[in-house]
């Protein structure tokens, strides 16, 4: 029986490998797309894509890896990772990659996804850091991107007051160097639309500059980074910068995959640390990660009665287009230092985090009542402890976080493989209203994890290869007021999704999501009372291949929005995607034509859009009209790729598009983008 399986799997994988050689990017693109479909709108996946692209070239050796490294492959669940190590511990090193099939919880889909990124062979022994090796065996990856909105928006006209001081062009330049798994370096600069290109005020010479040099795996010094880096530990409650998965149809996403210290190579202008950090192995199974960071952040400055300069919120957008945005740029300095201690064995991981954050300006809570428990002062110390423990088919995880002299927060959960075809997740959380933390990405309904209690439960059922079913339900309570919610409130969210894949080239997905929350009434009353706000999404999607080169995707999505006693309003979206990617051609392309009609912004719809490599877009479909885009990729030479994109909105029956400085006369808004990648 087992032999048969291996043979079967072998054939599948051989076919897979042959295809993979000619279509390396397509594979990652598909994977990212399937992950993106399961995410909220605001995630930046470029870092994930970066990692996967890297592993494609430098596969992880499954016989010589660790949980931290495997967690970066986000499609592996913590339970699978734990089972793999348990299997190796019991049976010795993997001899054949097909052995994965015999490890509990490794289904065919997971193995197929995993294959391109792993190996069992010891990579080239050539990993000594010498000048010659660095030059000869290093990998260089250079990306240059240009884009702009073609129509001129109001902000670029000669307005008397606030206007965009720079040009509407967007530039990105990114250079990355890696040598084996020993050295990594990067340099990124970015100019957003409306910003000065070169030597503008407060920029030397570009608006956003980021870079790092990292040395990895040198004896006890596991990681050492100078420059920009990210820190991701535990359940994202105490110390986590950047992107974290949360509630999504991938129900295991609420168990965070912490990857510790990592060099930062993204163009996001907010979510990183700047300074020096290291991970040192100080004893068997014990790692220490000390770090120091000094950064300038954007914030609007006020002066209080005592003449002190004060700040109430940090601006995270990284946009410096108008005079006031430029004035706010780099107005506040932040110093963070601290460390993380981790003890790790196959089944048990325990970590302790402590760090101190200080600012050169004083924080004052905003004047609204809902803000009264916000952080005040200049200094903050955070401590936390996290754990994960695998027992049989249970994976327990959790974290406690405490802001000294302020609130407490904790989150605990379990991931259970109930049977080979069914897994379940439960998660309980309680974040106090005065839990202050500037690096908190824990699972929450709100965008930040404080002032919230909740219980989440999810089920994932794969009865056979053809069907896969996911559910989750989440009930949450906000003990204190929130923005536009003038009383304690609660709500719930439920999602159900069914995938049917009868053949390799055909897939149907149905998804239903409902969310009920409370919000201030829209009526003008002396004291706002709360209205129920209900938002329901219905989605049906078909993906099918016409031939080896052409595949199609169709989607219909309906949103229903209802607030209080008002009538429900609806939004609709229907689109057709066409994807052309012939096996051995230099050219690949895809395009979308979409029709959307939403009653208002409340019933808007988001959908993932294909874009040039490393750029991620979730299209916002709001109003009534047509949306279309086309992407083209062409392999100019062996190591040189070029991408082009043209996208447009054509709204029905409007005189202008957008609002404020982004307003464009007419009913069209179109955008183009060109990108070049050179790998050497």
């Amino acid at each position: 029986m087992r032999f048969k399986l291996f043979v079967l799997l072998g054939f599948i994988l051989i076919g897979f490998a042959a295809k993979a050689q000619t279509q390396e990017d397509q594979l990652i693109k598909d994977l990212i797309e399937s992950i993106a479909e399961n995410l909220p709108e605001d995630y930046d996946l470029s870092e994930l894509q970066d990692r996967l692209t890297y592993y494609r070239k430098h596969p992880i050796n499954l016989n010589n890896t660790n949980a931290e490294e495997l967690k970066t492959l986000v499609f592996l669940s913590p339970l699978q990772i734990s089972n793999l190590f348990e299997h190796i511990r019991k049976n010795g090193k993997l001899i054949d990659i097909l052995e994965l099939q015999s490890i509990p919880d490794f289904d065919l889909q997971t193995i197929q996804r995993l294959m391109p990124f792993v190996t069992l062979e010891q990579g080239s022994v050539r990993d000594e850091i010498t000048a010659k090796n660095l030059l000869k065996y290093g990998n260089n990856d250079l990306i240059v991107r240009y884009g702009r909105v073609i129509e001129k928006s109001r902000g670029y006209t000669d307005l008397p007051g606030s206007r965009y001081l720079g040009t509407p062009d967007r530039y990105l330049f990114r250079y990355r160097y890696t040598y084996s798994n020993r050295v990594s370096a990067s340099l990124v600069f970015e100019k957003d639309a409306g910003e000065y290109f070169y030597n503008g005020p407060k920029q030397r010479p570009f608006d956003f500059l980021s870079g790092h040099v990292a040395i990895l795996n040198t004896g006890r010094l596991k990681k050492f980074v100078i420059g920009d880096y990210s820190m991701q530990f535990g359940q994202a409650l105490t110390l986590w910068s950047g992107f974290a998965f949360g509630k999504s149809p991938d129900i295991t996403g609420v168990a965070k995959r912490d990857v510790g210290l990592r060099p930062y190579t993204s163009a996001n202008e907010f979510a990183f640390f700047r300074g020096v950090a290291a991970t040192v192995n100080i004893a068997k199974n014990i790692d220490l990660s000390p770090f120091v960071s000094h950064r300038k952040l954007d914030a609007s400055i006020s002066t209080n009665a005592a003449g002190e300069q004060t700040v109430s919120t940090i601006n995270e957008t990284g946009l410096h287009r108008t005079q006031s945005e430029i004035n706010n740029k780099n107005s506040t300095e932040q110093i963070v230092y601290g460390g993380v201690l981790q003890y790790r064995t196959t089944a048990l991981n325990i970590g302790a985090v402590a760090y101190h954050t200080s600012f050169n300006k004083t924080f004052v809570p905003g004047s609204s009542l809902y803000q009264s428990f916000n952080f005040a002062g200049k200094e903050l110390t955070n401590v936390g402890a996290h754990y994960s423990y695998t027992y049989r088919n249970f994976y327990f995880f959790g974290e406690f976080g405490k802001a000294l002299d302020a609130g407490l927060a904790y989150v605990n959960g379990a991931l259970v493989s109930l049977s080979p075809t069914v897994s379940a997740v439960v998660l309980h959380r309680n974040y106090q209203k005065n839990y202050y933390n500037f690096f908190n990405q824990a699972t929450a309904e709100a965008s930040e994890a404080f002032n919230e209690k909740g219980f989440y439960a999810g089920l994932n059922i794969n009865p056979n290869k053809k069907w896969s079913i996911q559910f989750y339900g989440d009930y949450f309570k906000f003990p204190w007021l929130r923005f536009r919610v003038d009383a304690p409130s609660d709500g719930y969210e439920f999602l159900g999704q069914v995938n049917y894949t009868p053949t390799k080239t055909f897939r149907v997905t149905l998804r239903f999501k409902t969310e009920v929350k409370q919000q201030n009434t829209a009526l003008t009353v002396p004291f706002n009372y709360l209205d129920q706000v209900k938002r329901e999404n219905y989605r049906a999607e078909v993906k099918w291949a016409l031939s080896k080169s052409f595949d199609f995707q169709n989607r219909v999505e309906v949103v229903q929005f209802k607030k209080g006693a008002a009538d429900a309003e609806f939004g609709y979206l229907a689109y057709q995607d066409i994807n052309y990617s012939p096996l051995s051609s230099r050219l690949s392309a895809n395009l979308r034509v979409a029709y959307f009609n939403t009653a208002s912004y409340d019933s808007r719809i988001y959908a993932y859009e294909d874009d040039v490599l490393y750029n991620f877009t979730f299209g916002l479909y709001n109003g009534k009209g047509l949306r279309g885009y086309a992407n083209l990729k062409y392999r100019l030479a062996k190591r040189l790729d070029v991408w082009g994109r043209y996208a447009l909105y054509n709204y029905d029956n409007v005189e202008n598009v957008g609002s404020g400085l982004d307003q464009i006369d007419g009913k069209m808004k179109s955008e183009m983008r060109v990108q070049l990648r050179y790998q050497f």
């Binding site: 109930l418 080979p420 069914v422 379940a424 219980f455 339900g473």
Partner: protein, 267 residues
């Protein structure tokens, strides 16, 4: 004053979310996704579900509503299998001393081969208010279970299809008329996933989803959710030889937690 408040709350509950009678701690722990699940307390859900019992079994269940000190629900059930037939009796009492509702019923179920079983139940309802009087009426429940495969089971049942109500015009309590359609998926003999869709003629669709997972031979873990209103359920079951103890907690956004405990003994 407090009594009055409690009374209003009870009547409110009796009229809306608690229109269904208690289904015992096991089914409650599974989010009441009970239409296709076999249990002794199927007596209060799909009567065809009692055909899962191998030997005579008796059960007691007690639920406590935490917002009122006296408000509780007590239930008793007994099922007797003979040949491929099953007979069952259940009695439920819900309320406080001054106000209570009683539902007592007698069920008959029969297995037709391996796959199909059918059950019917006749109920006697009584609502009684001290110093005010009482009212009585009858209703019928009927249901069937069908095993589609070893792993997948389907269940369908109706409560009170003839829309019986209390004859007394001054009793507002109504007997719900509802149809329930459910399915179970049992990938292994340790795991039951269950779902039930309910349409009460007076209310919106409700969807229940639940899990029963036999962690050890002695210990089962359960959980579930239901949609309208959004409720969460957890439960554990302990069994020792012929004795089973089940505990469940139901969490309602307004009412809070309702714990219950049940004991059953198979002879």
């Amino acid at each position: 004053m407090r009594k009055l408040l409690l009374f209003i709350t009870i009547s409110f509950l009796a009229n809306s979310s608690y229109a269904q009678y208690n289904q015992g701690a096991r089914l409650t722990g599974m989010g009441k996704a009970s239409a296709a699940v076999n249990d002794i307390w199927s007596l209060n859900a799909n009567p065809a579900g009692i055909t899962g019992q191998k030997s005579p079994i008796a059960a007691l269940n007690y639920a406590r509503y935490l917002f009122g000190e006296e408000l509780s629900e007590q239930s008793f059930a007994f099922v007797l299998p003979f040949n491929n037939n099953f007979a069952g009796v259940s009695v439920n009492r819900y309320g406080i001393n001054e106000f209570n509702e009683i539902k007592a019923g007698f069920a008959l179920a029969k297995q037709f081969g391996e796959q199909l079983s059918i059950g019917v139940k006749a109920n006697l309802h009584q609502v009684k208010i001290t110093n005010y009087g009482s009212a009585t009426t009858f209703s019928v429940d009927a249901g069937l279970n069908y095993a589609l495969s070893k792993q997948i089971g389907l269940g369908l049942y109706v409560n009170n299809p003839s829309s019986q109500s209390y004859k007394a015009t001054n009793v507002a309590t109504y007997i719900p008329t509802a149809i329930h359609l459910g399915a179970t998926y049992m990938p292994t003999n340790k795991l039951i996933l269950a779902t039930t869709v309910t349409k009460d003629f007076e209310q919106k669709f409700d969807v229940n989803i639940g899990v029963d997972y036999k962690f050890y031979d002695m210990l089962s873990l359960r959980g579930g959710i239901s949609a309208k209103p959004f409720k969460q359920y957890v439960g554990v079951g302990l069994n020792y030889q012929k004795l089973v103890m089940d505990i469940a907690v139901e969490s309602h956004p307004q009412i809070g937690y309702t714990p219950q405990i049940g004991l059953s003994y198979a002879f």
